[in-house]
Symmetry: C2
Subunit: 73 residues, 2 copies
């Protein structure tokens, strides 16, 4: 299953600032300025959850509760 983030939801969540910065670095590396969604590599899940402050199940639950995960593991 793909890891797809809603950039619209993400920018409204102040506590998700570390995730916003991670996402911004990928957006710039790609030059992908669609601004609505960002699909990430499956390998990025661990880094993402660390930025949210927990293990993978905790991080995924947090991203879902924020409405940031459109599609995920």
């Amino acid at each position: 299953k793909k890891l797809v983030l809603s950039l619209d939801a993400l920018r409204t969540i102040d506590p998700a600032e570390p995730v916003q910065r991670f996402v911004q670095s990928i957006v710039e590396a790609r030059g992908d300025f669609n601004g609505r969604v960002l699909s990430l590599r499956h390998d990025d899940l661990k880094a993402l959850c660390t930025l949210v402050g927990g293990d993978i199940p905790t991080g995924v639950a947090q991203l879902r509760s924020w409405g940031v995960l459109i599609d995920g593991p």
Copy 2:
């Protein structure tokens, strides 16, 4: 520098058939049917050159001579 292949050139090169098959597997994994270009991960370079039958410098030279490498290392 990005590894970008010309799919238009690639489909005219019969001896590049192993490369065509590798490219097709990525096209299908992504659902990317633009049919004109395909950018690959830098990590794919080694696999690609192995399919062309040599080390990295040899493989890159071969892909360039076929006109398949639009942009490369």
